[in-house]
Symmetry: C2
Subunit: 461 residues, 2 copies
Amino acid sequence: MNDVDYCVVGGGFAGLTAALRLKQAGRSVALLEARDRLGGRTFTENRPDGSWIDRGGAWIGPGQDRIQALMGEFGVPSYKQYTDGEAMMFVDDKEYRYKGMIPWTMSPWAAMNLGAVLLDLGHLCKSIPIEAPWTAENADKWDRITLAHWLNSHVVSKSAHELLETAIAGAYTSAASEVSMLFVLYQMASGGGPGFVLGIEDGAQDSRPVGGMGAVSGPMAAELGDSIHLSQPVRRIHQDTDGVTVRSDDSSVRARRAIVAVPLAIASQILYEPMLPVDRSFLHQRMPSGSIIKIAVVYDEPFWRADGLSGQSAAPGSPATITIDACTDTGRPGVLCVITEGPIARRIGQLDRDARRGAILDALVERFGERARSPIDYVEQDWTTERYSGGGMLSHAPTGVLTQYGPALRAPCGRIHWAGTESSAIMCGWVDGAVRSGERAANEVMAYDTVAVAAGQSTDN
Amino acid sequence: MNDVDYCVVGGGFAGLTAALRLKQAGRSVALLEARDRLGGRTFTENRPDGSWIDRGGAWIGPGQDRIQALMGEFGVPSYKQYTDGEAMMFVDDKEYRYKGMIPWTMSPWAAMNLGAVLLDLGHLCKSIPIEAPWTAENADKWDRITLAHWLNSHVVSKSAHELLETAIAGAYTSAASEVSMLFVLYQMASGGGPGFVLGIEDGAQDSRPVGGMGAVSGPMAAELGDSIHLSQPVRRIHQDTDGVTVRSDDSSVRARRAIVAVPLAIASQILYEPMLPVDRSFLHQRMPSGSIIKIAVVYDEPFWRADGLSGQSAAPGSPATITIDACTDTGRPGVLCVITEGPIARRIGQLDRDARRGAILDALVERFGERARSPIDYVEQDWTTERYSGGGMLSHAPTGVLTQYGPALRAPCGRIHWAGTESSAIMCGWVDGAVRSGERAANEVMAYDTVAVAAGQSTDN
């Protein structure tokens, strides 16, 4: 590795896209990835039987045009998330079965309350300018209260409260007490509103790429070829008036500019020389990631479908908080995906593997019957212990952070530019946001250098 | 540097005290400090005229027994903070002069409001068990609201609100919207209540060591001698069943156990192998530091004293938010200390030095008259740009952090033990808390090894 035009740090979808667009524009590029695999917070495991499991980010939905454009480029088709049959919900020791997003079969009181809150959230989201949520009329007001406080003062039904806390805080993989209400509104608005964020059909869980996310990142990596360097955790980035030097433990890259595409929660683990501007280094101290454990329980067939069940279930407080059908497009084998987030994920992450597996299977048996007891495979992914993700799925903003440090999310710092889904105004927190941020950063570095040329300076200045 | 019993990371008061107590107990120790100086968030500048300036932590108060014990050991006397004369307060374009802690000369309404809120805070502090604030009866309630929200709903007088926001948020060097109310109550309780935290006489600003904090850390360093290694930023700590290996860029230390005594906000910049337990690594993502600029403006004499002024002033929103007399025990030269914290500190930190100096001197002239225009020296310390402090003065807890991650503040992680003022239940946030944490950590590592010996294991296991 030596001199290139641009150096990209991080091989998740943001970094891969940035590098790909730069290479396609005729620039030389080096991408340094800390792990021995690409994909970042996506991670597709291909199985001997030709099926696959997405151990991380998996879904796409309408409006996520940039990930869909990439899929188009590489000829990756999508298929619909399975939603036939009934979903289940377990609240207050009661079981409800329903179809669609809102469990209308709950007590009318709870269902009305839930519906009203979602309408309210949708309305509030419309007041947030997603390119600059810190300029929203009531930005200060929303940024000094937490999601937990808001839910407490707005959701009267206990069941509705439990469900919303699980669903919304789950999306940020942290406790509701940790997340700024402004961030919640911004992130939901960034996806088009709460219906999209929490929805399945026509929502953020509408479809999946055939072959999983790896079917998209794989051909991107192939096109990037030897521009990609795995197992190269970047330790330092030095910038001077001519360019940047990016160092891992045993090698270094010299480039005109760097694009750093790592989660905010771990961006401070790189040593920047000189120090970053205060607003950016303080941002790095202030956007943590949370906990998520994603488990694929594999059966020879999706037996729940024959029972009239969609595979979708939600049980706040259970070690198997959420389940969803995660079969491939062929429907064989049967894959139930268990997603557990936030404080419960941290708790069950401390169990030993057998105890956790036991608790998960017990919960599945309760919901789907005795056949759930005997999977042919069981694949766990605990994102809290992924050193180079720093948790999952996205770094969230606690109170007071967006209003003070929001502009630092995307502002380049000299020759260092920033990508990653957290830096995308549109679809912030999804793979699509990562792709958008990579394209924005690629355009940004090229535009900066074009401006320098037009101004009669050497591009090396 | 090779094998020692214990390796201490960080040479602030926590690390220095830990190393000193270990050495005094007959253990071999190596202390690695990132900077080319000791003291951490204290920093005493000795001046040619024999006077000194404390560019960081400076004061001590009653109940701060452990820093006072150290001063006793090394024969460092203290002197009282100058408080004679009137203090000034500028709120809502009005000037008030007063003595004591509460500006009773403000509108009776504002003064009563201020007094009532302080009583209220004092009462709430009594409900917080400082060893485990997360077990307080209303811990969840306080940990889901911010200081900003609490002030908003409890302080009706605009002037009282402005003052309290400046004083309390200032203590955490961040915006009030960033800080959990549970953390505020805990930190205040840790010092004995709001009267201590905000007070001067008999409060946290009661006295100062003669010679500054450096007069204490200097002899500690001398006693530690060649156990101290400066300019050795620690990059990695590897632990195995026999001990730890602590690596800086160009050297390494092998020890039985390590004591890490760095601010929480930058603790994640060390690479821990294997990864720390989730609760501790998540804590490292979740306790940021804030901004503080401390400026010493030096005159040939403390001319304000002759005018009947104490030198103390407060002006929320001003670039010189707080001033206080910072003369040495001899009263010559005259030193006015300007302290600006939180969002305003970040803002004036972005000015160039001349513009900032101009703004500060203008403010001082307005308060202390034309003589303030012509200092003989002007010494700035911006803690936000101190790479190895990560900001100042202490790392605070945003909402939801103490209730979830509080127990991780002190719990050792295998052979890694934690010190630093943030880990002290008593006097958390002061130099005294740092000293206590160092003594606790020193006892802890020795006790763990004694238990191992008593259990018939080799201390190397």
